[in-house]
């Protein structure tokens, strides 16, 4: 479904084979753990067995004597980092806290917190030596749940932490509540009082992990001239460079980061864990050192997303959302920085809500520090509000999709942060859902039900740079600094091919290291196809301009008389004078040398993305198992550049949402030990657990991009949690307000077992 007449694109909207496909399919592509320079040493990290403890003493003397061991490191090998905040894509990090997350200082704050590291000649020798490090701990009571952590008498993770409130003030008493923000408009008390119907409910979600297949791995070489090379798996090589330089207190330019192929990240690889440790061990040994996590390390000690508590009062008046009063508390993990702000700012965005008051709390607990995860903060918020809406509609006998349509946000409606929406596709996605085959087909049979939910994500712009060099044979090298995590080599090459009107196969995209291309922000925020795409477009236009200038010289005419049509240069005044792109490329040497187009920019106008999902489920009341029978995801994608990858992003987001809704959770025992740090017990869906995810691609072009691109990668994970909960309610008559809606929870509830 397209809302405006679509330009006559040649390449945009097709689904060519990705440039990096053959290497990845044959196994030739190099990932971080494949990187093995000569003389490589292997690092291993000793992690805390406790959730909360003071580190009294670390004795590495035995470990240092173990066979094969070349060096040992603890936090004393890291310089004291500045107590200041550094932005990394969609989130930000305090450097001092980052440093103590990388190697614990005086306290360990979660099970799995890194305490010390070893470099040895083999991986197994390093592991054995790490186990031989003796650490004396003084155990402290752990705080694991967000609401427990907020209590006045809760044990404190940091005695010096005070609550920051809006306007720059801080609380007098120390607290685990790192910040409290409020978004407010209208008169909520009055509006709730005058509503026809009020839903008043609490919702809880658990900490969940992105579950990328490739564990983190980093190899560092600290050279004798104090330059440092890092080969790593990351969503942002420039972020690794800047964070590592600050943690190590070395000049930014002394570090060169080469991003290798990346086996998934979903936001989790925007931060650093291993790079500075590998660098320190390399400095001590004079050899390259590689540290790779195993799956347990990844679960215990990288950044999942927050568990949350949300209390909502939703008032409906005359079929409209009249008021929302919400308290939202998100677990940040060991250090502040949960995405509760984004949760609050996205929650009401699909709707036009006149009266609201959202209190948002960022709370530290003895669990790993959270990192970004696909639309960070938004899924939990949608889990709450979209269920409240469903409940209200059922109570008032209103159709759930028609209600969303008549309450929909649109251009000009303000978000809770006061910013008005530009042209968006909120209504269009709801209307496409209403018109879908899925919505029109009946759902029948016992224990079956249907649910819908909507969702929003901002999408990001930020900084991008590309360099495009025309080869003499008419192909173009596209050098970019955005690591390719979701097929962006293809989506960028397609935009350059469209701009230059040359075949897609003639564009050769390369992801460069940090010495070879100017700054690029992270691959995150669904921003690369949009922002780096914008830079690619500008670089392409720049090449066209240079070609026109040269043609004008060759033809002795003015530049204004040269047209660029279908990849060919034409002289307006003399139709016999034409040059194809390839012919012009071949003439570079004698017309002024290589033609290079480049662009560096801060992209503004990232268009927000909206989605509405429909799901059918069947519940086995005897076992509590929920089967997904049918799933349709409707999404406004702006313009689909690579159609198959757009659909793939939508399907991937839905599958992660299904896992989050039904089974995934960080399972801690009372002492704060993570008990399910493997893919056996951390249950992500397998291919047998999900049906084919149907996609309906709505295209409301983003006015902020020449091809109308909106980010597509994140919003598809926003609606599934609520859509599935709503479907389960429809099937069973029971409303599940706590995630995951696992067989245990369902069977206990339906059979009143506990």
């Amino acid at each position: 479904m397209t809302t405006v007449e679509r330009p006559d694109y040649k390449i945009i909207g097709t689904s060519p084979i990705r440039p990096d496909g053959a290497e990845k399919v044959t196994g030739a592509a190099r990932y971080a753990a494949d990187f093995k320079p000569a003389g490589l040493l292997y690092g291993a990290i000793l992690r805390s067995p406790h959730a909360h403890a003071r580190v009294i003493k670390i004795d590495t003397s035995e470990a240092a004597k173990m066979p094969g061991v070349m060096a040992v490191a603890t936090h004393t090998d890291l310089p004291a980092a500045a107590d200041k905040v550094e932005a990394i894509g969609e989130s930000a990090v305090n450097l001092k806290e980052l440093s103590s997350n990388i190697l614990a200082h005086d306290k360990v704050l979660y099970h799995g917190h890194a305490v010390a590291a070893v470099a040895a000649r083999s991986h197994f020798e390093a592991e054995a030596a790490a186990r031989a490090i003796k650490v004396e701990y003084e155990l402290l009571p752990p705080v694991l749940d967000v609401r427990d952590a907020m209590r006045e008498d809760a044990p404190l993770l940091d005695e010096n932490r005070h609550t920051k409130v809006m306007g720059g003030q801080t609380s007098d008493k120390p607290s685990n509540i790192a910040s409290h923000n409020r978004f407010e408009d209208g008169d909520v008390e009055k509006a709730l009082a005058e509503s026809d119907h009020v839903v008043d409910r609490e919702y809880r979600t658990r900490m969940v992990h992105q579950g990328y297949i490739e564990p983190h791995s980093s190899t560092a070489m600290w050279n004798s001239d104090d330059t440092i090379q890092i080969y790593t798996s990351t969503q942002g090589a420039f972020g690794v460079r800047s964070l590592t330089s600050q943690v190590l207190a070395v000049p930014l330019s002394s570090i060169r980061v080469t991003p290798l192929e990346i086996g998934g990240g979903f936001g989790g690889k925007t931060v650093i864990y291993l790079d500075p440790v590998a660098a320190v061990l390399s400095r001590k040994t004079g050899k390259p050192v590689k540290i790779s996590m195993n799956r347990t390390d990844v679960f215990e000690a990288t950044g999942p997303t927050s568990g949350s508590y949300i209390h909502i009062k939703l008032g409906i008046k005359d079929g409209k959302i009249h008021a929302v009063d919400a308290t939202m508390a998100y677990e940040a993990g060991a250090f502040p920085g949960s995405p509760v702000g984004a949760g609050a700012m996205t929650m009401l965005s699909p709707y036009d809500v006149p009266n609201f008051r959202l209190n948002a709390y960022d709370v530290v607990v003895n669990k790993p520090k959270v990192a970004a995860y696909r639309a960070p903060g938004a899924p939990a918020a949608a889990f709450a509000i979209e269920q409240a809406i469903d409940e209200a509609c059922k109570a008032l006998k209103l159709d759930v999709l028609n209600f969303r349509d008549s309450n929909s946000s649109r251009e000009g409606v303000k978000m809770v942060n006061g910013v008005a929406h530009p042209r968006i596709g909120a209504e269009e996605t709801v209307q496409a859902a209403l018109a879908s085959d899925h919505w029109k087909s009946p759902i029948e049979g016992p224990n079956r039900g249907r649910g819908v939910a909507s969702g929003f994500w901002f999408n990001a712009g930020m900084q991008s740079s590309v360099i495009a060099g025309v080869n003499p044979d008419g192909t173009v090298n596209l050098i970019e600094g955005s690591t390719d995590i979701g097929g962006t080599r293809a989506s960028l090459a397609m935009q350059l091919a469209e701009t230059l009107q040359i075949p897609f196969e003639d564009v050769r995209p390369v992801v460069a290291d940090t010495d070879s291309i100017p700054h690029n922000d992270v691959t995150g925020g669904s921003r690369v196809t949009f922002a780096t795409g914008l830079a690619t477009y500008e670089a392409g236009m720049n090449i066209r301009k240079q070609m026109a200038e040269r043609a004008a010289k060759l033809w002795n005419c003015s530049e204004d008389d040269v047209d660029y049509i279908d990849g060919e240069l034409h002289c307006k005044k003399d139709s016999t004078k034409t040059l194809t792109f390839k012919e012009m490329a071949a003439q570079q040497a004698r017309t002024g040398g290589p033609i290079t187009g480049s662009a560096s920019l801060v992209a503004r106008g990232a268009g927000g993305a909206f989605a509405t999902h429909i799901v059918d489920v069947e519940v086995d009341p005897e076992t509590g198992k929920v089967e997904i029978l049918r799933y349709t995801a409707v999404q406004d994608v702006g313009t689909a550049i690579h159609r198959a990858y757009v659909e793939g992003q939508i399907q991937g987001g839905v599958v992660q949402g299904i896992g989050w809704a039904l089974n995934e959770e960080y399972f801690y025992d009372e002492e704060g030990h993570l008990r399910n740090s493997s893919f056996l017990d951390y249950r992500m869906p397998t291919t047998l657990d999900v049906p084919y995810i149907e996609t309906i691609v709505v295209e409301v072009p983003n006015p902020g991009h020449p091809y109308g691109v909106r980010g597509v990668g994140e919003v598809p994970i926003v609606p599934p949690l609520a859509a599935i909960a709503n479907a389960i309610e429809d099937a069973t008559g029971h409303r599940f307000t706590e995630l995951p809606i696992s067989p245990r929870r369902v069977v206990e509830e339906l059979n009143q077992l506990s």
Binding site: E622, E748, L753
Partner: protein
């Protein structure tokens, strides 16, 4: 993981000799349990002894008396790809075809599943229900024992030092009998049973009364559990839902599960009932086919 030596004896005698050379030994059949345990430092061994080259452990046949003899190291896939076995011993296939996924089944053996002695192992309740006997060998000869006497606790079996499992022997199915195994997992594959259950019933001449029965459940106690009370609830009774429900209650009562990340006590006791009933329904259907 620590370094270890790898040995691959060709005969039982070579194996017994290697097992008494004073080194800590880990036997390796398909390796789908033991390799994981070694890699994750949950187990240490000086030597890993691969039993897959010993002919007795790789033999698979239906014997003259109609029984099934399974070499301890025969991979699951070899078992379920045998059409005759699949037809005559469908409950063995129930287990063999759901352990892990296809790749795992190409390696994983029933002997390994049994010796690993997980309370949640997916072959054991089914093998118990079918009156399986284990043939155990050592330097000093062989001994046989009913499978239910083999388990000592989570991950612990009753093998003595120097002993290994050679064979599993399942008696020929009686007329009008059928066996069935099922488990509950939150996903549809690659998961560990929250509870599992195997059942066998034999119908009397009238085709309605249950003449003999055996029920076993897993993941609800330190070892897989035979439930004599369930058998009592079945034998002599008509094979119907009411009878099955009573047997299910007996399973729930016998279950003494723990609560962990895989399930709660209440959930497991409830599932012991549900899965027992479902196993009995499946067994009844097969018993009728076998009449």
């Amino acid at each position: 993981m620590d370094a270890f030596e790898y040995v691959a004896p060709r005969t039982l005698d070579e194996a017994y000799a290697a097992m008494s050379n004073g080194k800590t030994t880990a036997l390796l059949a398909g390796g789908t349990d033991v390799i994981v345990q070694l890699r994750e430092n949950r187990r240490h061994a000086d030597q890993v002894l691969d039993v897959k080259h010993i002919p007795e452990l790789m033999a698979l046949k239906i014997t003259a008396d109609g029984g099934l003899s399974i070499g301890a190291a025969v991979p699951c896939a070899v078992i379920y790809e045998n059409a005759e076995i699949a037809a005559k011993f469908p409950a063995v296939i129930d287990s063999a075809s759901l352990i892990g996924g296809i790749q795992i089944q190409g390696r994983a053996s029933l002997g390994g599943n049994v010796c690993n002695a997980s309370p949640a192992a997916d072959s054991i309740p089914s093998l118990i229900a079918q009156d399986t006997r284990l043939v155990i060998g050592s330097k000093s000869g062989t001994r046989e024992l009913p499978i239910e006497e083999f388990f000592a606790g989570p991950g612990k079996n009753n093998l003595q030092p120097g002993e290994l499992l050679i064979q599993l022997k399942i008696p020929a199915p009686k007329p009008r009998s059928g066996a069935f195994f099922n488990r509950f997992i939150p996903r549809n594959e690659m998961d560990i049973a929250v509870v599992n259950a195997g059942a066998r019933i034999q119908l009397a001449d009238d085709g309605e009364t249950i003449a003999d029965a055996k029920v076993a459940i897993g993941a609800v106690a330190p070892t897989p559990l035979v439930v004599p009370a369930a058998a009592q609830a079945l034998i002599g009774k008509p094979a119907n839902e009411e009878t099955f429900a009573a047997a299910g209650e007996a399973s729930a009562a016998a279950a003494t599960p723990i609560a962990d990340m895989r399930g709660s006590v209440a959930q497991r006791k409830h599932l012991a009932k549900v899965l027992t009933v479902r196993a009995l329904r499946g067994a009844l259907e097969r018993a009728k086919e076998n009449s």
